[in-house]
């Protein structure tokens, strides 16, 4: 990955490296920060800067299935907010919280670029389109049994 960036500019790989590593281990850990800092020769503070900035990077552990529900305008117009309320009620958790069994976590997200198939949600990196409360129920059931 470092080879994709100009010589001496290996810091370019920082964000992809953090994100891809996070996908593998589930969260940004202190060990990961140290490792990335070494590999890319960047200071700890440079990593802190991006960790706080990019919403997809997170230090806390999330559910095995991270359900991200868009409530931005296009989704809102077609029931995104109701979907969000429904999911919170169904799972008994709020924004950026995880179910007790660790299977599902919820996040209210900004536009995920699926506006023409709204309301849309992301489960980890999988899109689900034209979601209804009923199809969401079925989806979540599926996720919880899949674990």
């Amino acid at each position: 990955m470092i080879g994709n960036y100009p010589t001496g500019r290996q810091k370019g790989a920082l964000i992809p490296m953090l994100l891809y590593a996070q996908d593998e281990i589930g969260q940004i850990t202190e060990e990961l920060i140290d490792e990335v800092s070494k590999r890319l020769s960047v200071n700890r503070v440079e990593i802190e800067e991006v960790l706080g900035y990019y919403t997809m990077l997170h230090r806390e552990k999330r559910g095995k299935h991270h359900v991200q529900i868009c409530t931005n305008v296009s989704c809102m117009l077609r029931g995104g907010e109701e979907l969000w309320e429904h999911a919170c009620g169904k799972l008994g958790i709020g924004n950026k919280q995880t179910t007790a069994d660790g299977s599902v976590s919820l996040e209210e997200v900004e536009c995920i670029g699926a506006c023409s198939w709204a309301p849309a949600i992301l489960v980890n990196y999988d899109f689900h389109f034209n979601v209804t409360p009923e199809s969401l129920d079925a989806l979540i059931e599926g996720l919880r049994t899949k674990q």
Partner: protein, 693 residues
Amino acid sequence: MAELVTLTIDGKQITAEKGTLVIEAAKKIGIEIPAFCYYEGYSLQAACRMCLVEVEKMPKLQPGCTLPAAEGMVVMTDSPKVVEARKSTLEFLLTNHPLDCPVCDKGGECELQDMVFRYGAGESRFTEIKHHANEKQWSPMVYYDPARCILCYRCIRVCDEGLGVGALGLTHRGVHAEITPSNGDHLECDECGMCIDICPVGALTSGSYRYKSRPWEMNHVGTICAHCSNGCKTTLSIRNGEIMRANNRDQSGINGEFLCAKGRFGYDFVHSEERLQTPLVRKDGELVEASWSEALALVAKKFGDVKAKGGKFGVVGSARTTNEEAYYLQKFARQGLGTANIDHRRSGDVASLLNALAGKRDALATVADLYTTKAALVIGSDLSQQHPLLAFQLRANYRHHGSSTYTVTRGPVREDSYAARSIRFEAGDEIGALDQLREDLSKHASVVILFGDSVKGGDVAKLVAFGDSLGVGVKYVCLMDYSNSRGAWDMGLTHEYGPGYEAAEQRGLSLPEMLAAKDLDVFWAVGANPLADAELGSNDAFVVVQELFLTETARRADVVLPAASAYEKNGTVTNTCGEVQRLKAGAKVMGVKTDLEIMGLLAKEMGLDLGIWTPEKVFEEIRRTVRGYNVQLPIIVTGGAAPTQPVSGQLAVLPDVSLVRSAEDTLFTSGSLGRYSKMLNAAMEAPGKLYKE
């Protein structure tokens, strides 16, 4: 010659170099364009939007801090649009800024307060709930209150660009955006506190000052830092004789905006509970408190008796007492006591340098030269650790003028990160290593060579010969340890030289020789602690010590006279570049006397005529009699730095260079003074470690 353009600001015409920023052009004609994020000498941010101005033919308001002056440009800085924009920016800023001014450290000195006072609206329309985040301690020195932070990024820039440390960053975003320290939740840095100084509001506060005082309750006294040899001006803020803080309030010293941890936080030794405040006299083997008159009489009697019987004195001065005290001490020893045994602990071989420079004029670099020279060569010194101001100057020179720095050091140093070339050498071979740089250095129109204690004696001569061979203007800095290391040499606190490097009439014992002597009758240490790492050979010697603390040497004393520190006295000191600056008494500590006064009283008690012992009178004598010290008085009394060059001919005797050794202090150590600074010790004990590249 740069192209000139004429523009109009608020109806006034001004000619400026093309590309001059409008904010700077306006400043030249006395028009303030307010700004938070703009800070001269640091990268442009255009973030605070306070400097928006109206420009003819431009539909949008333009940031004056990034807008280059152009021919025919018409700028308005107080049009209704601009006034409204400033009001609204300040209103925005105050939405989440806590209005805790009554308890905020910055209250009264806050740029946000001043801005709102001058440009803000009388009332805010904000009625929502403020966003809040709690204050954090980042280190013993630095606290951060994100709620107060207005995100001007000055701290990030001064740390990264100015110091080359880069310990601060920006994290989160939107209203949550805040400054983040180097190691997640704490700082590992130089602890210089420059971020605190440069913070326009009370977001960054000092561990030693926070919630202690209001700015208007204090007197602000500009004096010279008591610690290293760089000679930074530090402003002591005094309340009832007590130093509440030290900072770089007026930025008028040779250090400009710079001040390190020692100058800012290392003043606390002054009010240490371990300070000696009463004379101590040994009775029945124990040091017990005594009155000044008793102690002085005892010392005067002993001195008189030993002198009368032709006994042996050993006198040790300090690299931290003033020029006046050093001068008076050697006069006391040589004329009053009739001894040639006088010395101090030397940390750099300036005598050999002055000798080698004989016949040259202006060959000593000033602190200011380091900012303007085209190239600098640093030999055998970890400049950022031991000479932080000099390191700062070189970095600023590189940043602003693209100067080249070369390092020749034993291990890696911070300057390597921007150095044109870095060479590692084996101990003793630094001069040999220089040949590799001859070609590089001779390309620059001016070069300043800074060298540490490993270059001494014949090597200094070789170094100057090397400098001569470059064929360009070369200036030198002999790096030394403490606030008056240079002055101690100049004033004649060595067994080889009297004041001005005149050969001593009689060559006495050096410091190691005094310590080794078995037959010393009197050992007198003024502000020195030679027994920290040595034994006194003479068991019967009567030991007199003038000190701030009960040091190893003071513990061996028969009489201890409590002395005032640099922050409690007037006088002058000479920095490592040979610049003389004035100390101004700020703090008051009960029971102590300055070393000069102690010596004067002793002289009086002994019936010696050594002249009036006020700093002013002694300095007058120094100016009259010590070569190179006939400096311009107005420069000194107005708080400036007057350069000296004490020797104009070859020295009659060569210095004993085996005695030259630097203590190699770090940013957080400072000889015996540092041991009594809680803040400096706390920095060393803080989580993490000393910042290293």
